[in-house]
Assembly symmetry: C2
Amino acid sequence: MTTATARRTPADKHDERRRALADSALLTLGELGYARSSLREIANNSEFSHGVVHYYFQDKLELIVYCVRQYKATCVHRYDGVVADATTADGLVAAFADKLVETVVDEAPMHRLWYDLRSQSMFEDSLRDAVLQIDQTLEDMIWRVVSTYADLAGRPAALTSRVAYGLLDGLFQQALLGHLCGREGVLDELRAEVHDLMPVLLVP
Amino acid sequence: MTTATARRTPADKHDERRRALADSALLTLGELGYARSSLREIANNSEFSHGVVHYYFQDKLELIVYCVRQYKATCVHRYDGVVADATTADGLVAAFADKLVETVVDEAPMHRLWYDLRSQSMFEDSLRDAVLQIDQTLEDMIWRVVSTYADLAGRPAALTSRVAYGLLDGLFQQALLGHLCGREGVLDELRAEVHDLMPVLLVP
DNA sequence: GCGTTTCCTTGACAACCGTCAAGACTTTTC
DNA sequence: GAAAAGTCTTGACGGTTGTCAAGGAAACGC
């Protein structure tokens, strides 16, 4: 046993278990949503029993907030590669649009869970802190794309990061709903919409 | 009893009661959201008892869909006056932005209920038909504003009604969340954002 | 190898949910 | 005014929920 693995004993094990439990829970949450996911259902879709939740989390709310925080923590780096690899403005837009479409398809359950939680935060103020923090990291994520796009295009951005995020989020949410409803062509529409929108985010 | 009031006997009374019950239910739904609104809580905040719901509605889902449909039916005409009274492009934008801000403040509970229901429809397909229909009427509502704006400005719209709705809805939703979280200046921001956005919806 | 701590399961609890049947009250009809 | 139809209340049902205590199982320290 090396010192590196020996270090992983006291509270690290605890955190590791929380992460594993959250990973399991995300499967159920993405399928049923916030309100209809009971702790028993979450536990049934995992390797644990329903009682273990209260050993690692204070209550249901803490578990769910932890879950979404954990997912979004990796989510916010989705476009890092797109930004890093971009050499031209048009290339960045194309890669960004493709990645958006890809995540609508591949991670639809996680995205609808996020929108579910954000809607719930409009009613439950105990959710608002976490939602506002996550929303800010998403705004920053989008802004890294837009500001890089502005640099490559040699034109400054025409609006705030807040607006840029709001606009793109609106289109994304619309596409997600359309995709989940089985609407044809919604993915190609999203791609085209992003291609149309990005240029107008910069000053002429 | 005139023939006009005598006409209001068979099924009209039934519909009238449904509307009254839905009006009461909307108060609770706007306060607690879809998931946490029980039929008993809805009934407690009304003049009826909890059993009466199943006399006028088949189940909880039908009640809630009926409620949101009823609210949105009047909601989609909110900007009709703005469109009818507009004489200049800039005037239309100003009146539209003011009206948006006004409804964020005055009808926040109803709007968050709508976003709640739309999020739930991503999980429950029994909600999707109603949500998609309502969403379409909202898109049409926005398009009446944008197309009138284009006419007054003498420039054609640069994008589809779908995109216009998606963009504005994104900003609106963001402002609503900010307003409910007590963020300062969010209303003025929304007004300014709409002023910035509208011109770019038209071809240069 | 034993005692202690940590981890997890099981079972029970009180509360709440949607639904519906039984019946009381009201209104209409003849 | 009695009968019928419509309207609404009450109370109960089976089921599910979050929570937690009791205790078994496993890991750990010495």
